[in-house]
Amino acid sequence: MKKLNGIKLKHRKNTENSATVELPVPAIVRIPMSMHMGAPCTPLVKVGDTVKVGQKIGESDAAFSVPVHSSVSGTVKALSDYRNAMGNVCKAVEIETDGKQEVSEEVKPPVVTDKESFIKAVRESGSCGLGGAGFPTHIKMNPKSDIDTLIINGAEWEPYIAADYREMLEHPDDIIGGINLVKDMLGIRQAKLAIEANKPEAIKNFNEMAAKDDSIDIITLPSSYPQGAEKVIIYNSTGRIVNEGTLPADAGVIVMHVSTVALLYRYCKDGMQVTTRRMTVDGNAVGEPKNVLAPIGTSFREVMEFCKTDIDALKKVIAGGPMMGMSVPDIDMPVVKTSNALLAFRSYDERKTSSCIRCGRCVNVCPLGLMPAEIDKAYRIKDIDDLKKLKVTLCMNCGSCTYVCPANRKLAETNQLAKALIPRK
């Protein structure tokens, strides 16, 4: 089996040994109606309504959508417009909290008997791919092809982030329970829990836990970036290739994130939906880097203040990891379901871009075997035929090419721009 290309990154997992701390409930939360991929929800509450923890406050008729639940108890103050980091606008429910955190009567374990009721329960849990993409979990659970392998993504491939690692150390039973739940409900024979080699303690724990269980394999992924990318993790744990224009399900696999399976397990046990988010707070502007469990809708400012961040000195704030995260224009944006990290930096040097020297580093690091330097050239002359031949549409924006470029060309960005030139069929 051919080894995929990758890059060696400094792991900088400064918070891997800090146990998760619960963030105090903030005075106000702002919960966006779209934290997932798919149709945004419509608010189910009005200004002045009182809400409790776990109460459904947003729902959509569309199948490709995920309901939204309140993370706090309190009073709805406003329904405002919210622009997310992608630039999309949706409604957000602003709730003034009462600090009591009363749990709604809607929170009760779902009745799960078969695949159909399970998938319904998955939708009700408000769960979407917690790794970052936010793909609705219940859609993933209902593939058209036969699935023989469930891959659980515990790669946590980005520098700094340790939130999944903490989940794996703090709640290993929920993860194993969740894996068995999904496996049994969907009738999948084999599960593979894939963890990057830089988390030896988690690998050791899970190996002990799954020692007697043949249906769960623990896979150690090589310590090279990017391991958690769907195509890469599928290839590295099963040797299968997801072909252009097909889904992982067509290769017989479903990939789920460790935090997502743990959440489903907890939801089926006690009925609590996605209302909090475990995230790593780090970066050189953060005084006390931590892993926190924040109510959804808490502002980034609140989270950063809790971690003693020097707000006045901030130069750059990233929601997510340094490689694929989104840089945030405004620190009053809320924590959403997919926020796995918040990185705050007091310094950021923007290097100048110079001419391509054709060193080929970008080609040598692309895990998918793309040629970013050639794509860059084709993009500049808008050669759409060549862009198609160069398969730019397969780029997953892992950023390795930009990372290694000595001329500091924004190759990953160019790939995304080039994709837009190719007409969709």
């Binding site: 997801v242 252009e244 990233i318 840089s327 001419s355 998918l368 075997g369 198609k388 950023g399 290694v404």
Partner: protein, 312 residues
């Protein structure tokens, strides 16, 4: 709070810059340059200084004249200057070196768009222009240490002596104790530089190995002395420092191997059947010109990509 910087991911980078790469190439060239100066005297150092200074100056002026951002700080002009000097006889009149530098930097590099855009290796093209324009000066060799002028007609560089009883020993060739261009004679020093670059992951050894390997095998098959052929002349300088030039060689490993094979074959053919005793520069130039085609044929295979649809 200042305004936050918003930019597309990734937000991290490694700190290898173009100038870092060029600096490493300069470091790698030092052993051969120092050996050259020891063997052929301080005149070599002066010649190198003139080449470097004129290359940097021409780059500066050309960019200025074209109203483009100045790029002398990326050190690529310095590299071109050193490699050009290493490809010249130590006795070459300085004004000729300036002409070579002009051609390398202005005509080959800047007129085609500057760093990364040149179709051929600037230093090699500079050398070829000088060789065609001033054949006598370009084949005026001196002996190492004594600086005694060697007779160019009967052939004093090691290559024309191959197979005669005046042929040098392998050790002398390896250490570079022969007449020749300033930086090409000492295979050992060039090898050290090349391995340094490979260890720093600046170059891949695919092209040098296939270049030297194919020349070795072809010479061997044709009944020549393969060790002599690879040690004599500019093979090591060409293989490690010019057949690995980023701008003018293919990116993929497969392409690099083809490039090296081509260089080896052309060098062998020119040396064996051509009227020039040396063929390294011409072979590299020829392969430079073929590079875009090699590149087209050796594109990488993308994971899971469909075959290109027909009539597209």
């Amino acid at each position: 709070m200042n305004r936050l910087i918003v930019s597309p991911s990734p937000h991290d980078e490694n700190y290898t810059k173009t100038s870092t790469i060029m600096l490493n190439v300069i470091i790698a060239l030092m052993p051969a340059l120092i050996v050259g100066c020891v063997y052929f005297g301080l005149r070599s150092l002066l010649l190198t200084a003139v080449c470097v200074a004129s290359c940097v100056l021409f780059e500066f002026l050309a960019r200025k004249l074209m109203k483009r951002e100045n790029t002398i700080s990326d050190l690529s002009a310095v590299v071109t200057g050193i490699i050009l000097a290493m490809n010249l006889p130590p006795t070459l009149p300085l004004w000729m070196a300036v002409i070579g530098s002009f051609f390398a930097i202005v005509v080959v590099k800047q007129l085609f768009g500057g760093i990364g855009q040149n179709f051929a290796n600037p230093a090699i093209t500079g050398r070829i222009v000088l060789m065609v324009s001033f054949p006598a000066a370009m084949t005026h060799w001196t002996a190492p240490f004594t600086h005694e002028v060697l007779d160019g007609v009967s052939g004093a560089t090691p290559l024309p002596l191959a197979g005669t009883d005046k042929a040098l020993s392998y050790l002398d060739l390896f250490l570079g104790k022969s007449g020749g261009c300033l930086g090409e004679t000492c295979a050992l020093a060039l090898l050290i530089g090349g391995l340094y670059l490979a260890a720093r992951r600046i170059i891949s050894l695919a092209a040098p190995l296939s270049f030297i390997g194919s020349l070795f095998i072809l010479t061997w098959i044709s009944g020549g002395d393969p060790v002599y052929q690879i040690l004599a002349g500019g093979v090591f300088l060409g293989a490690f420092f010019m057949a690995t030039d980023y701008a003018t060689t293919p990116i993929s490993t497969k392409g690099k191997i083809i490039f090296g094979l081509g260089c080896g074959i052309f060098t062998f053919v020119i040396r064996k059947f051509g009227s020039y005793p040396e063929g390294v520069s011409f072979s590299i130039l020829l392969m430079n010109v073929l590079t875009p085609y090699i590149e087209q044929l050796t594109r990488t295979k993308v994971l899971g990509a469909k075959e290109a649809e027909k009539n597209e």
